[in-house]
């Protein structure tokens, strides 16, 4: 056991990576659960692409400056999220279609902007960090995003849950639905931008969605699911980093592979609709 955990004691970069993935999991868990409940599980992916043009713009303005590209990505993501959300609420177009339209537009703009600069340095590489190289600024950003996310989620929790389970009822008693939805989309963008710093494009989405999807197999209660998805995220982070250390795998994918393994285990073993419980309902009754 001590051997297993020794890397955290010996190397500061491992401790930083640990803090980074925990911060990501703490905020990403609840955001992922709400995305899943709203049937927007693929939104994270789409938003990840939407963030690129802002980052590209930051790169054009300030060169390879991480703050500039982070701010640019944040701005582009929020613009796309808010526009897509508004179009979905105001017009007949559904959320997924309007989001697809805006993120594709945004992605094409981003690729064009980056190509205009004409550099063949791999921008994605430079922009999206590795969890093994988190400096103070990146850690503060991650922790700050986690804090803000949890605070905002606490503030909008009740209307957000209502908007997920019974939007018609919410609309009949309050006008909070649309603003709450938009605030929530901003949180998604915030967490994705933070995740890029640590894990890279797709992996940031992975640490948001996989724990949420896994938690659904254990409970139908939103509160329990949130707690579980945070726990699963943290366990995946720790396991992934150790896997990366002991099995010599690249760190970002290792974290997501660990989360994926927990998802598959939940899929088979989970008490709420897991495959084993469906195959032998008798065991379910005994349990």
């Amino acid at each position: 056991m001590t051997d297993l955990l020794a890397p955290f004691a010996e190397f500061a970069f491992m401790r930083r990576a640990l803090v980074g993935v925990i911060a990501l999991a703490v905020a990403g868990g609840p955001v992922g659960v709400f995305l899943m409940l709203r049937r927007m599980s693929l939104t994270g992916d789409a938003m990840a692409h939407a963030i690129l043009p802002g980052a590209g713009l930051g790169y054009l303005v300030a060169g390879l400056s991480l703050p500039a590209m982070t701010i640019g990505g944040l701005a582009a993501g929020i613009v796309v999220a808010v526009l897509a959300g508004l179009v979905a609420r105001v017009t007949a177009l559904k959320e997924d279609a309007s989001l697809a339209a805006f993120y594709l537009l945004s992605l094409a703009l981003g690729v064009t902007l980056v190509s205009l600069r004409g550099s063949s340095v791999d921008l994605l590489h430079v922009l999206f960090g590795t969890v093994l190289a988190l400096d103070d600024a990146a850690l503060i950003l991650l922790a700050g995003i986690a804090t803000v996310s949890l605070g905002v989620l606490a503030l909008i929790y009740r209307p957000l849950v209502l908007d997920c389970v019974d939007p018609t009822f919410l609309r009949s008693v309050s006008r909070a639905g649309t603003p709450v939805h938009l605030v929530f989309l901003c949180l998604v963008v915030l967490n994705l931008v933070g995740g890029f710093q640590a894990l890279g494009t797709l992996l940031a989405v992975g640490l948001m969605m996989l724990p949420a999807a896994a938690s659904r197999f254990w409970s139908a209660d939103v509160t329990v699911m949130i707690g579980l998805s945070v726990a699963i995220g943290i366990v995946s982070g720790v396991a992934g980093l150790l896997l990366s250390f002991h099995a010599e795998l690249p760190a970002g994918p290792a974290v997501i592979l660990a989360a994926g393994a927990l998802y598959l285990a939940s899929l088979v073993l989970g008490r709420e609709g897991g495959l084993l419980w469906q195959a032998w309902p008798g065991r379910h009754l005994e349990a």
Binding site: S119, V121, T130, F245, E248, L249
Partner: protein, 301 residues
């Protein structure tokens, strides 16, 4: 649409034209395409005024992850000679040549160099290390190959090509001696450093410095936690005095390692690309001098 690379190409063509008005008006210059800036510099030196060379991957670009544009394809189609490094450095060149339909012969300049197994510190690399130009003796092989290819493509220019190549080879000999002298200034136990990607194996082999890289030969792979940890342990154990970042690589991992070990971060090294004209390494010779100065400054003390 004028991309920046186009503009740079046009500008440098205009500059070359201003420098050599006699030949430029005729437009009879031999068009050559080199895959990246260092090769383009070689071709420029050997070809002189008779040759107009463009680099597909320009200054400060990373040829490992280069994505071709239609303009590149057009340039290839117009070229009468294509110069590549070979040794698997430009994995994309064969496809690009096929797609452009160019009839120009492809010269792999590194073909005649002595291959060096690409194995990083812990031996899981494969194939030959393509960064052969980091050894000046190999650069001379490149120059000879380029000279022969230019003569084959443009026999009339044999005289100037041979003269320019001979002059350049002499400069390279002087550069080689200069680097050896500079390495000799560094105490033997301090001749070791960390770089971000494994581009200096040929430099090591030729000049007796010891480089370790967390990233392996390509800039594309992501290091594992173990790789980073191993390098930190090695720096502590062997008291490696300095770490270096190349211009084309992500510096964050190296910065993290430096912070954790207290090793000094040296000036940025140029490994796979030259700098722009106003940077510290606009030509191959300037690049090697800059790297040696940076290494010497960080390691000597």
């Amino acid at each position: 649409m004028p991309t920046r690379r186009n503009v740079i190409t046009l500008l440098s063509a205009a500059l070359a034209a201003a420098a050599a008005p006699a030949r430029a008006q005729g437009g009879g210059r031999l068009k050559a395409v080199a895959t990246f800036s260092i090769l383009a510099d070689f071709v420029r030196r050997v070809g002189g005024e008779r040759v107009e060379v463009t680099a597909l991957v320009g200054p400060d670009g990373d040829a490992h992850v280069y994505a071709p544009t239609p303009a590149d394809s057009r340039r290839l189609a117009e070229a009468r000679l294509v110069v590549a490094n070979g040794l698997g450095f430009e994995g994309w060149i064969a496809r690009l040549i096929r797609a452009s339909g160019t009839k120009a012969p492809l010269v792999e300049a590194a073909k005649g160099t002595k291959p060096l197994k690409a194995a990083d510190a812990h031996g899981h690399g494969h194939g030959a290390d393509p960064h052969a130009w980091q050894n000046v003796a190999h650069a001379k092989v490149y120059v000879a190959a380029i000279r022969d290819a230019l003569i084959a493509a443009d026999p009339e220019g044999r005289g100037p090509y041979e003269a320019q190549a001979a002059a350049y080879l002499a400069e390279l000999d002087a550069l080689d001696a200069e680097i050896r002298a500079a390495v000799a200034q560094i105490p033997p136990e301090r001749r070791r450093a960390i770089t971000s990607h494994e581009a200096f194996a040929h430099f090591e082999a030729a000049y007796g410095l010891d480089f370790v890289a967390p990233q392996g030969v390509s800039t594309e792979a992501e290091p594992s936690a173990k790789d980073v940890a191993r390098i930190i342990q090695q720096i502590r154990r062997e008291r490696i005095p300095a770490v270096f970042v190349e211009t084309i690589a992500d510096r964050r991992v190296i910065e993290r390692i430096a912070q954790e070990t207290g090793a000094r971060i040296g000036e940025r090294l140029y490994s796979d690309a030259l700098s722009g004209a106003d940077g510290p390494a606009p030509t191959y010779i300037a690049m090697m001098r800059h790297n040696m100065r940076a290494l010497g400054a960080a390691l000597a003390r």
